[in-house]
Amino acid sequence: MIDTKTTSKAVNVTSKACVSVLFAGDSGDGMQLTGTQFANTVAIRGSELNTFPNFPSEIRAPAGTIAGVSGFQLQFGSKPVYTPGAFFDVMIAMNSAALKANLKNLHRGGIIIASTDGFDAKNLRLAGYPEGVNPLEDGSLSNYIVFPIPVQQLTREALKDSGLTSREVDRCKNMFILGLLYWLYNLPIDGTVEMLQTKFKKKPLIAEANIKAVKTGYFFGDETEIFEGIGRFDIPPQKQHGVYRRVTGNEACAIALAAAAKKSGLELFLGSYPITPATEILQTLAKMKKWGVKTFQAEDEIAGIVSSIGAAFGGALAATNTSGPGLALKTEALGLAVMMEIPLVVINVQRGGPSTGLPTKPEQSDLFMAMYGRHGEAPLPVIAASSPVDCFYTTYEAARIAIEHMTPVLCLSDGYLALSSEPWKVEIPENLAEIKPHLQPARKPEDPPYLPYKRDDRQVRSWAVPGTKGLEHRLGGLEKQHEVGTVSHDPDNHELMTRIRAEKIALIADTIPLQNLDNGPEKGDLLVLGWGSSYGAIKTAVNQAIEKGYSVAHAHLRYINPFPKNLGNILANYKCVMIPENNYGQLIHIIRDKFLIEPIGFSKVKGLPFNEMEILAKITDLIKELQ
């Protein structure tokens, strides 16, 4: 371990409130690992943090090309950060394709740290620069502060006696960059050194080389004079004391399912089929056998949900996770779950569609499918998570609603939340809401017959689990006789059951919290109404708009079906309601339909999340129109 404090010579250290950094390189350059390590280091130091990886859908897209660029963006700061940053302040470009693909999102005056060996003739050609043009040399980057550094050469020199092959040596380049960034942001390297020692425990030479590369990068910052102009930066940590962990949205969903099972006293069963960007939920739960979690990697999406319905019939907290194409395949089974009135959590991690669409890119375009995408009259609750950490609370709430209201619940996340991460102040078990299953107790022979579709005052039927004496009953997709539960084709009964099923979902509004205002005045010019992953961008934009003196508020929906009871009243308090969505306008239809108002839509369908600048610009335009 080295004491980085004393080895650094005195250079000017500038304090900043918040910084956005992009690590970009070829998909084989290890940018995800580098970014993750940097994020861990700032998180453990106590910074506010938000991260977002951005990688191609191919495992190994052609090296050196724009298609092969893999990025990891993060924003960290002394004040709360809700997005990875609309623009970055610093960009690491491991090759010319990485620079070309991302330059448009670098702040004017931002810093570029370029690995010059990625800017040789071959790389420039692969990135699509004209013959003889090198952006590092032609003056085209004069609006930025550019640091061309021969990373490969410096890494090779440092590791020439490491005993590794030249290929293995070159794979340490990313650790050089990481060390340099640690120096630039006045951060300790110890955490990364420990990680490398653990990760390469069985390959001590590799561990040693990587650690040396980190240190070489760090000392390079010290020794070189190129940074003297800008000096170093410090972002003082601000987090309140407590126990934290960094979670991605997908991890948070998985933890929530397991936690809801523990809290409700049920066993968790997840039937699932791998699909980007939802797979990590299955992967995370597959590792939770210590908590008794049962995961089943089914042969297809349909078997994923149907096995879960079987497990739910057996008395488990059953869940399935998927993304758009998978949800489409599950819709027939969702109808069965609606008919059987059994608890089931369906997590849909939305991605760009239709069809295979943009598998690795986020979109919010499955809202209609979540709301209406079933045959027959088949209403079910729909709720949406707004941040990686909120994926925990929303999924937990989905499980609570499913179990306590005996219904399948659609829980929406998206590719942005799924892979983004932020620090989470670890929950303690006592703070989690109680979840009480409606388990029907055994029946004695002298008791009246068990009526599977007899309901309580919330129209919820009881859960009679096989193995319970005297409750033997048959469920299924055929319409059932009210209360009795036998097959019925009676016209009036079908209409009654259809009404009851709808009423049951509508009555959930009695048990969910009222809608709150996230920010801004209770009455005013403009309400920005969001749902899902646009939370961070809207939050940041509305904050800035309020600072400018605009009369703007922000409400963010978790509950989309049913809506919170007071939502209509809130909407009526503003001259104008604006609804930003990563789709072609879906929530706006539902709001218009339900409340007969005319909101302003703001669509973005680029496979990219909103950034705060876009939302702020839209708010500014609307406020000007209203004045």
């Binding site: 497990a311 303690i428 078990p429 469920l475």
Partner: protein
């Protein structure tokens, strides 16, 4: 016995497993007979009705759960097997049965069929094979015969049919048996065998549909030809058949040939001895069903247990992994929430 330890006293009878719903199958449908034999078999297992679940898909035979006084789910078309698998994984203590048909299991549910068999959860799967779609009124199924004329094959079926036995064995199934719907007592013995087998037991029942495919199995099953055209398998016994038990099957290398006993100096000692644990022999036996009834190549249809293999069930393997992970102690909710990488900000 099954893995269920809950015994019922006094002993139950078939009627205890009948629900209050009248079966709505057509008069003369083979499903009635199968239902009766299931009800006759269950008391022999000593499992209480509340610990038994019947799962089905869609089709005539998939109505069966409604007629049982056990727990049950009449699910969606083709998906009975994944539903039963999920249930069995969640509740290994239950005795889980599946009623499915040739359309349900082999057409729309074909993918689930092969994957369930290879995973081997402890299910008792009854495949009602009537070689036709009954509920939708007479379209051909994946087991309909080549050339068969139906409403969707007016010029004759050109789909080469599935051989369920070969498909099951090829998919890694651990148990395959075959029986006729009308073979009451024998069917019951096969259902009992299936129930006692630990793993996915597949019982193919040749079931007559008197409305849309009447006498589909008549060529081999009518009382006049049955002895000549079927062979009832018995473990460790030679493959003998025929009206006078005067024919047998001998293996000529890998090729099964019909021989007449007491002729050509052939005796029972020269015949193929049935061994249901031998997958190679089971694979050859499964192929008997591919021979055409009216050709010289015809081999009698094997009835009984073609294949039975002891192999760990899916749910037992998973339970083992979970017990192993909880060897020291099960995880607590607090540990779950905290995870492995928590850090403290002072």
């Amino acid at each position: 016995m099954t893995d269920n330890n809950i015994k019922v006293k006094p002993a139950l009878i078939a009627q205890d497993f009948a629900s209050n719903q009248e079966p709505k199958w057509c008069p003369g449908c083979g499903d009635h007979a199968v239902l009766q034999q299931i009800k006759n078999t269950l008391p022999e297992l000593g499992v209480a009705p509340e610990n038994i679940v019947f799962i089905s898909g869609i089709g005539c035979s998939s109505r069966l759960p409604y007629y049982m006084a056990t727990y049950g789910v009449h699910g969606i078309h083709g998906r009975a097997l994944p539903m039963a698998t999920g249930l069995k994984i969640a509740r290994p203590d239950l005795s889980v049965w599946v009623a499915t048909g040739d359309g349900d299991a082999l057409s729309i549910g074909g993918n689930h069929f092969i994957h369930t068999l290879r995973r081997n959860p402890d299910l008792n799967v009854i495949l009602f094979n009537n070689e036709i779609y009954g509920l939708t009124k007479g379209q051909y199924s994946p087991t309909s015969k080549l050339g068969q004329r139906t409403v969707t094959s007016p010029s004759g079926v050109i789909d080469y049919p599935f051989n369920p036995a070969s498909l099951a064995i090829g998919s890694g199934g651990s148990f395959f048996a075959r029986a006729f719907d009308r073979d009451g007592k024998f069917l019951r013995s096969i259902l009992l065998r299936a129930a006692l087998h630990k793993g996915t037991s597949l019982v193919e029942i040749y079931q007559n549909c008197p409305i849309f495919n009447n006498d589909a199995f008549d060529a081999i099953a009518n009382p006049g030809n049955k002895a000549e055209n079927t062979i009832y398998l018995e473990q460790d016994k030679p493959l003998v058949f025929g009206k006078d038990n005067n024919k047998g099957i001998r293996l000529d290398g890998f090729k099964p040939v019909v021989v007449e006993l007491n002729k050509e100096n052939v005796s029972a000692d020269d015949l193929w001895i049935h061994n249901e644990e031998d997958i190679n022999k089971a694979s050859i036996l499964a192929r008997f069903a591919d021979t055409q009834f009216d050709s010289d190549e015809f081999l009698p249809r094997p009835i009984g247990v073609l294949y039975a293999e002891n192999r760990i069930t899916y749910e037992d393997a998973l339970t083992e992994q979970i017990s192993d992970a909880q060897k020291n102690k099960a995880g607590t909710l607090a540990e779950l929430l905290k995870g492995d990488n928590a850090y403290i900000i002072q």
